[in-house]
Symmetry: C2
Subunit: 322 residues, 2 copies
Amino acid sequence: MPAEFDLIRSYFTHAAPRTVLGVGDDAALIDAGKGRLLAVAADMLVAGRHFFRDADPESLGHKALAVNLSDMAAMAATPRWATMGIAMPRADARWVAGFSRGFMALARKHGVDLIGGDTTRGPLNICVQIIGEVPARQALRRDGAKAGDDIWVSGTLGDAALAVAARTKRIRLKPAELKQAQQRLDRPQPRIALGLALRGVARSAIDVSDGLLADLGHICERSKVAAVVALERLPLSPLLRRYRSVPAAQAALLGGGDDYELCFTAAPVKRAAVEHAAAKARTRVTRIGRVIRAPAGVCSVVVVDGDGLPLAPVRRGFDHFG
Amino acid sequence: MPAEFDLIRSYFTHAAPRTVLGVGDDAALIDAGKGRLLAVAADMLVAGRHFFRDADPESLGHKALAVNLSDMAAMAATPRWATMGIAMPRADARWVAGFSRGFMALARKHGVDLIGGDTTRGPLNICVQIIGEVPARQALRRDGAKAGDDIWVSGTLGDAALAVAARTKRIRLKPAELKQAQQRLDRPQPRIALGLALRGVARSAIDVSDGLLADLGHICERSKVAAVVALERLPLSPLLRRYRSVPAAQAALLGGGDDYELCFTAAPVKRAAVEHAAAKARTRVTRIGRVIRAPAGVCSVVVVDGDGLPLAPVRRGFDHFG
């Protein structure tokens, strides 16, 4: 398990007696009374680590909010309010104007109020906190998966990581291809509508921010189950399909982050309901595997090829301290 | 007005239709139903700007939460939940252990649950968001001051800034004196109990984080009033009193930040009630001046000396982009 999570868990996980669900899911849940929960999440984006230093400010504004909205989608929460802390090397009004334009356009689209925050000088760092609402018992958590559940994923996987691979010279893309992949990296579309439509349908959910294997792995660990995923069933964009034999593209597909799709599980009896929810949300979903009992208590994710044989282990997710 | 606030206001202040009180106070207020409001605030601390790079991690953990608790105190809110984003250059377990110890000790003292967050690699940056509760109509805001109100401040002012002045060679303190001032800088005590006791008593409040003149100035601007403060009445620690003739100490008293005392206004008829609230909270309070109508619409803060004559303007507050 990445050292990042070790650190968080060992030092910042404490009893949270006033909290319905604390550290360890896409968002925490607190009781707001009247059968309503508030979902609360925070993400920090650091220049040179979560985005390229030359990132277009408008895209960055979009993304800073999008990654938090994605956490709300994974909890089936309606996003409502956001705060933001931002450190920047200098007061560059044009940069701030672009950033704000991207941030606020997405906020308005999803009915989110920016209600406060802090602006200071420092190495570029953006920390957004989001608060959403979800009826009690309808929140989707990481710990709800059961052996026998289908595993589903929205959209297509790996395109965002393909852009990172191209920018870091691990794969060569044509300019039009890079532009297309870069769009997925820069402008993730949080699956809010799908998350809401899956209330009462899915049993567990997570957003794919660290890569499919890592994030599905989080569901397995929290639910004390294991998972089998069929490589052939994974939803690929035409672009990724073109490069699927290249190792960097395979790594992007299974281990790349930044897709901000939803990975969720649901009982097989809910297949029609899942399809209906996806149609309602106008979002493609694909059934990619099955939840199984954890063999000997090991909550692993196994990927099988077209012959049903397990692949060799793939790099799992992104460890900020790796 | 500092460029920092210009930036925030122009780009990040938008209509917030789902929000009782948006950007521009110590915390935002959102409606949680049943006559209860949630107060939400976020503060970002950057190494080398808000704290010395060699700061003791345990003190830093304390301070990162304390500055947010102070925002809750200024709103008369009961702090409940916190999230934290933290970027650090490397995964230094000893540092994290110390930081976490300081943070969690203060969290437990005030009954706050740490419910989530994000840990990543990057230049040291700590962004804490806090959520508190306050009954509707009992929140203390910056915009409630009325001409004729008394102006009060808790504790003593300027000691924290005196430590900064000493560390940056603008004043010379004896080692024991520096230690004493440093304690105020490193371990601010948020005035939660006083904030709660002032519900229904005070008319407006702010915490003194940017310096008395700057922060009282915020009350004046939001309330569309002006203020007169008597220099002789300002509460000084014995340490600050010893150095009060030194310009750096005077600047610390009026313009230095990091005191995290409460500055509040109340009708003169409430004097006994204020004293009673202070006694209940075991916190010293001092009446330092009076709110007046804004002369010609200018919401200024004037400091008068022992002869009742206005002082020359003093540097007002800390501008992170100055």
